[in-house]
Structures are given as C-alpha cells and as structure tokens.
C-alpha cells in the first residue's frame, strides 16, 4: 500500500515536472500570481505563510546544510547554462551568417561549399538568372567565390603548431552581397595583388594576422592589409582576390560556389526555378539562411544533448543532496511541526511551507549558478572545426535570458522534488509520536 502510494507520487511528480519545464514565461507569471493570491487571501494560505516565515528565520542555524542545497543546485545550473550557451553561441553564429535574401548556388549534391566545384561557364551563367538584385551600375549582385583551406601557425602555440583556416577568394561584388561586413582596420585588398583581409576571429586565433604583416599561404608570401568584422562565421575566415587565390591553389577558372543577393526574399523560388530550367547548369540553390542553419544543426544538437545529459545526471545528485538536507531539517523540527498541527494547523500549509523553503534555497542556487555562468562564459570565445567548412570557426558563448530562465526552472524543479518527500513526511508524522520525540 505504502509502496503503491509512493509510486503514485513519483508518477505525479514526473508529469508535473514535464509540464513545468515546458511552461513558457507568462505561464510562470500566472502561476506565481495565483499562488500569491492564495497565500494572501485564504486561511490556509496565511497559515502556510506564517509557517514558512518561521522556517526561513531558522535557516541561519542550519547554514552548512542549507549551503549544500544552494551550492549543489548552483553547480547544476552553472554547468547546464554554460553548455547550452555553447550550443546556442555556435548555432547563433552560423545562423547570423545566412539570411533569407541571399542565396548560395553550389554544384548539385554538394553537402557544403568546400565540396562544390563550379566551372567557369557556370559562374558566368548563374549571375544572369532572374531574381538577383542589381547594384547602382546595374550589375547583378552575384559573387563567384572560391573556398580553400590554409595551414597557419596558431597564435600562442608551439613553433610547429598549425591550425587550419578557411580562405575565401572573392570578387568585387562580395562586399555588396554581404553589407554586414565592415573593414575595421586597414583597407580592402587590391585585385590581382597577393593581399589579404582577415576576420577578427581569425586574427584572434592565428599568429601574424595584423595589417602590415606577411604570412605564407601555400608557397607564396601574402601581405595582410586589413581586418574586417561581420559578427558571424565570416569573422573566422581570411579573404583574398579570387583569381589570385585560385592561381595559388591551382584551381584555374573554377570556383566553389556563387552567392547572390536576391531582389527580395520572395524572389528565391523564381531564382531557383530559373537555375533548374537552364540546361547548361547542374546546380542546386538554397537561401543562405537555410544553408547555414543546416550546417550548424548536427553539432549544436550534439552539444545540447551532452549539456542536458550532464545536467540531468548532476541534477539527480543535487536532488538527493536537497532531499538529505530537508529530511534532516524536518527531523530537527519534528516537535515544532507536531505542535503546530496539534493546535490546529492543517497538513497542506505544512507541506507548502517546507516546499517553499526548499524552493527558496533552490532559487538562490539557480540565481548563483546562472550569475556565475553569465559572468564567466558570456562572450567567452571557443573554436571548433565546423561542419561543412575547412577552417576553425570561432564563436562566442551566448548566455541568453531564455537560457537563464530555463536554468532557474531546472533549479526550482530540483528544489520542488527535493522538498516534496520531506514535506509529505512532515505532514504525515503522527502528532503524538512526534511530540514525544526528544
């Protein structure tokens, strides 16, 4: 009988937790409002409030064991938020790289830009298609680009330590197609020269990428003449003149892909249809928004799954820590609680008071963990070999308000479960035995 009842509690709890995690922020506010009204207006609510006040005022005497709950939950929330911020930052960087009004054209069946090869004829034909925006001179905003990889010495690494950077050979229209790109130091490269402009992310990661310095790309020496910032994945790249890059890497007239600016987002379908109808072309087009989201999907999902699994295991540990603390607290206050019940307080206010006390500790822990994660990791840059590219992609962790909110939700959920069973125990304690206990 006892076992069945406990099982029932567990199933009920699981359902409550599931709904809780899914709850949007306005749902939380409504819940909070209803709860506050109950506490203020009903008799039992007022009883609960006064028991809670007693419990909280004695917290100071149990500083050590209360700290276990707070710090345990802070650890869970901190780790969870940091890992999710990594996944979010990675996905966000790639998402911002694309948009709905630019499209990328690659050879059919290519999973990414790097794997695609377009011959010279295709790169001439594609810019003629319908739906492409034009610049002031009436030229189509289409940029045939070549993407290759280069090994460069890593900044602050050993003498032989090299990393891979993605090099993009671009034509003049590249800047028009991506207006978010700004030169922040030096100048643009000159066509036909062995000059490079480097992204801020690449500059942070590799040695010698300051304007005026020289680096070896392939067998030739190139001069860095400028630094650009775009706030997305391009920041991790190094750009040079398409013809010169193709020459160095022995690619001749072929290019990797063509990126075009559409006259408006709705023009994509007609643009795509025009390409498909052209018998000279065997290509596939996609909006860059779609393309880059797809590239980030796999990796960011893996990081999310890892983050949630690690968080879940840690949460179980912290939950048992909280249970331990609260059972001890209830045991220590057994007489006090029994006295309250003897003079007429009902079971529910006792349960609510203990739950509230645990959840208050959990909230403190959640805030602490979220704050730590935000202080340490917001804007922290990491890098990885991104899917679909051939260079290191550097990205910043993004501790967003949504992440912090979900961290708090986790914290409160842990506190709820951690306080639930001790609360039930307190409410079910036979008054007479508890009063006799020394």
């Amino acid at each position: 009988m006892n076992f069945l009842r406990n099982l029932g509690w567990c199933v009920g709890l699981a359902i409550i937790l599931y709904i809780w995690i899914q709850l949007p922020w306005w749902g939380l506010l409504v819940l909070l409002g209803v709860f506050a009204l109950w506490m203020l207006l009903t008799r039992r609510g007022q009883q609960a409030a006064s028991i809670t006040a007693v419990g909280i005022s004695t917290l100071k005497q149990r500083l050590g064991s209360s700290a276990v709950v707070v710090i345990g939950i802070a650890g869970v929330v901190g780790v969870l938020v940091a890992l999710l911020a990594m996944s979010e930052g990675y996905a966000d960087t790639l998402r911002r790289t694309g948009s709905d009004d630019t499209a990328i054209v690659m050879r059919g069946g290519s999973a990414s830009e790097v794997m695609s090869v377009l011959d010279h004829d295709s790169t001439v034909v594609i810019p003629q298609a319908a739906g492409i925006a034009r610049d002031a001179q009436g030229k189509p905003l289409a940029s045939p680009e070549i993407v290759v990889a280069a090994n460069l010495p890593v900044r602050g690494g050993g003498p032989d330590e090299e990393g891979s950077v993605q090099v993009r050979g671009v034509g003049e229209q590249a800047w028009g197609v991506r207006p978010e790109l700004k030169i922040v130091a030096g100048r643009k490269f000159q066509p036909g020269m062995r000059e490079l402009v480097v992204g801020t992310g690449a500059q942070r990661q590799f040695a010698n990428l300051q304007p005026g310095r020289q680096v070896k790309l392939g067998s030739q020496v190139w001069t860095v003449v400028g630094v650009f910032a775009a706030g997305n994945a391009f920041d991790s790249e190094v750009w040079g003149d398409a013809d010169t890059v193709a020459d160095t890497y022995r690619h001749g007239g072929s290019r990797s892909a063509v990126t075009v600016k559409l006259s408006d987002p709705k023009a994509f379908s007609s643009f795509n249809a025009a390409l498909a109808a052209d018998p000279r072309l065997a290509v596939e087009a996609d909006t860059t928004g779609n393309y880059f989201s797809k590239q980030s999907e796999g990796t960011s999902k893996i990081i999310r799954v890892i983050g949630i699994s690690v968080g879940l295991i840690m949460a179980i540990g912290a939950m048992f820590g909280a249970l331990n603390t609260m059972f001890a607290a209830v045991a220590a206050r057994a007489r006090e609680i029994a006295t309250l019940r003897a003079i007429g307080f009902r079971g529910l206010p006792v349960v609510v008071a203990i739950l509230l006390e645990t959840m208050l500790l959990a909230l403190l822990g959640g805030l602490l963990g979220g704050l730590l994660a935000w202080l340490i990791f917001n804007g922290y840059t990491a890098s990885t070999m991104a899917a679909g590219s051939v260079g290191q992609l550097s990205f910043a962790f993004k501790v967003s308000p949504e992440l912090l909110l979900s961290g708090l939700k986790w914290a409160l959920a842990i506190g709820f479960v951690g306080g639930f069973f001790p609360a039930i125990r307190a409410a079910q304690l036979p008054v007479t035995t508890a009063l006799r206990e020394s």
Binding site: A111, M115, G317, G321, Q392
Partner: protein
C-alpha cells in the same frame, strides 16, 4: 580490519541519510567515469604501438590539397622507410547526399600498413582482383545490412565520374574489423581502389590526398619525416610529415578543447560533492558525540577514534564511487555502441585508478574535520551533553 563491523554499523546508523548521500556520490562518479572516458578517448586517439610506426605525409598548403602520385616512389627511397601507401578522401554518401560516410580511395597495399585492422585473406584476395570492389567496416555493414556480394550505389559529394554523373556503384568484397580501439573508426569506413577512382573521375588526375609510410625504427621517425619533407622542399607541392599520433592530436585539438570542458564540469561536480558529503559526515559525528565518548571511555585511544571516523568517510566514498564507476562502465558501453565514430575510451584500468585515488582523497578531505572533532572530544563534556 577488525573494526570494520563497527564502522559499517556507524555508517548505516541512519539509513536514509547514508543512502541519499550515496546516491549523490554515485552520480558524481558516474559523471567522472563518463567524462574521463571521453577525455582519455580524445587523448589516446592515434596513440597505439602500430600508429607510432606510421608517418602521414600531406600537402603543406592545407589538408584539402593533394600531392602527385609520383612522389610515392621517391618516398620509398628514403632510408628507414619500410613501405608507402597512399589515400584519397572520396567523400562518399549513401542514399542521401547529406548522409555522408567516411570513404577512402586507397592504394593496394594500404591495409598492409594497418595490421590492427582485421580482414580475411579471401577478402583481401577478392579486393585485389575486383576493380570496383570495396571493403566495408563491420559496424557500417551491420547498420545498413550490407553483405558480401551486394552492389551498393554511392554518391560522391566531391567527385563526378567521367560522364558527369556523381553516382558510383561498388561491389562489397569483404568486411574489416578493428582489433584495437585506436582504429575503431575503420569499423565505420568504406575503402575503395584508388586506381579505379583515379581512372573514373576527371577531377583527380593522378593526385593523392596523403601518404602513409611505415618506418623500420620508431626512434628514427623524426629523421625520416624531415628527410621526406626535404624531397619536395621549394617545389610547388611541399609536404608536411607527422607521426600519426601528432597528426590526430592536432586534429582533436582543432575539434574541441575537451580537456578544458571536462575539467570545468568535474571541478563543479567535485566541489559540490565535497560540501555535500562533508555535511553528511559532520552531522553523523555530531549526533554520535555521546557514543564516541563511550568508545573513548572503553579505552579506544583518541587516534583510533579519529581513524574510525576517517575510515567511515572513505568507506562511504568508496561504496558510492565504485557503484558510480560500475554504472559508468555500463553507460559508456552503450555510448560507444551508439556513437561509433567518436573516440570514446572504455572505462579501463587508468580511469579506475584515477577514480579510486579521487575517492580516497575526497574521503580523507571530507572526513578530516569531523575526525579532528572526534579526536579532540572531551569525554566528560560529551557524556554530560555539553
């Protein structure tokens, strides 16, 4: 040892508290086992006795640039080189262009360089005599239900055939199995003939992605690597030669700084654990004050009482930790089966050693304060409840 019974009884004096604490310890060591398996998997990638004998020679330009096939003959002339094989990245996909499968176009002697990969002699024979033959990894064959003799349609995301089509068709002639965990990603791989590949596509024109050479003497690896790079110095296809170990280490480092991530998570976990079990031990000693005083009255020395409290906390950590690591063994087994191409080590002797050491250290740290308190206990005060 003769006090084990006493320590055990003390530990389970309050069953609920001990069990709750144990679960927390179990989860901490479960995480430790899993994360350390990932970390050591990444650390050990490419670190094998066979791997140490192999040198990888790739283009100095970047990892996607290629080298002329003629260079192979020159590599073989370098003193200290036993044999040279070559490979190209094929970029194969099965069923859907986005479902990529690791596939290499290899020279005939490629598998000779990897004695840790098990292929039956008949399969080798069949591979050598079938132009369109491929050898597939055991895990991959299981996943797609491939059998020897099947014809499989493949797409290459990079290379088109002479007629412009990117559809390739191969005959499965054999299955390969990795005998060592360092080579386990060959279980997920497809090997095809470089010669067939080179003749069928117009894009390649006799180029090679990288060379794999075996050396006679591992201690000579550095010298051999330098000699290989000297061959093409100042040409238009300079090379960069590394031991397989260095090459995979640099790859893993570019993929992610696993050590840092794992380190910070473990830091958070163990800090919490320290506090949690420390609190439990503190409570346990506090409520047993009078019992400890009785022990002292009976003639137990202060030092013996201290040792017993320490032993109790170490025992607590050991029980929880061993259970946690056993659970981790089980979970990591599942993870390895799920994510075959990720380098995850099994929970082996090294992880157990580190885990046990950690249990001991945390146990002693956690027990230190309560033990000191128990040792300093004044019998008269404690018995009087002061």
């Amino acid at each position: 040892m003769k006090y084990l019974h006493l320590i055990w009884a003390a530990l389970f004096r309050r069953k609920t508290r001990t069990i709750l604490t144990l679960v927390s310890i179990v989860t901490a060591f479960l995480l430790f086992g899993m994360l350390d398996a990932v970390r050591s998997g990444f650390d050990d990638a490419g670190k094998s006795a066979n791997g140490a004998q192999r040198l990888q020679t790739g283009s100095k330009l970047s990892f996607i640039d290629t080298l002329p096939q003629g260079l192979g003959a020159q590599l073989e002339q370098v003193p200290g080189v036993k044999s040279v094989a070559y490979v190209n990245w094929f970029g194969g996909a099965y069923q859907d262009p986005h479902n990529q499968i690791f596939s290499f176009a290899v020279s005939d002697n490629y598998l000779d360089q990897y004695p840790e990969i098990e292929v039956s002699p008949e399969a080798r024979q069949a591979f050598n005599s079938t132009r369109t033959g491929v050898i597939v990894g055991a895990e991959l064959a299981k996943k797609y239900n491939w059998k020897v003799g099947d014809k499989i349609p493949f797409q290459s995301t990079i290379f088109a055939q002479r007629d412009g089509s990117k559809n390739w068709s191969f005959d499965i002639v054999g299955v390969m199995r990795a005998k060592e965990k360092s080579a386990s990603w060959y279980d997920q791989m497809v090997l095809l003939h470089w010669k067939y590949f080179d003749e069928s596509t117009t894009y390649n024109r006799g180029m090679v992605g990288w060379y794999v050479s075996r050396v006679n003497d591992i201690s000579q690896s550095d010298r051999v690597a330098k000699a290989i790079d000297a061959i093409s110095a100042n040409s238009d296809h300079e090379t960069r030669t590394q031991t397989e170990q260095a090459a995979s280490a640099s790859w893993m480092k570019q993929l992610a700084d696993i050590g840092l991530i794992v380190g910070s998570i473990m830091g958070a976990v163990f800090f919490t654990l320290l506090l949690l079990s420390g609190n439990t031990m503190m409570q346990a000693v506090r409520e047993r004050t009078s019992e400890l005083a009785v022990l002292k009255t009976l003639g137990f020395s202060s030092r013996a009482v201290m040792a017993m409290v320490l032993a109790e906390s170490v025992l607590l950590l050991l029980i929880g930790g061993v259970l946690g690591l056993l659970l981790a063994m089980f979970m990591v087994g599942g993870m390895r089966a799920q994510m075959g191409n990720m380098p995850i080590s099994s929970v082996d002797g090294g992880i157990w050693m580190r885990g046990l050491l950690l249990m001991l250290v945390v146990g002693l740290l956690v027990g230190a304060l309560p033990a000191l308190r128990a040792m300093r206990l004044n019998i008269v005060d404690a018995l009087a409840g002061r």
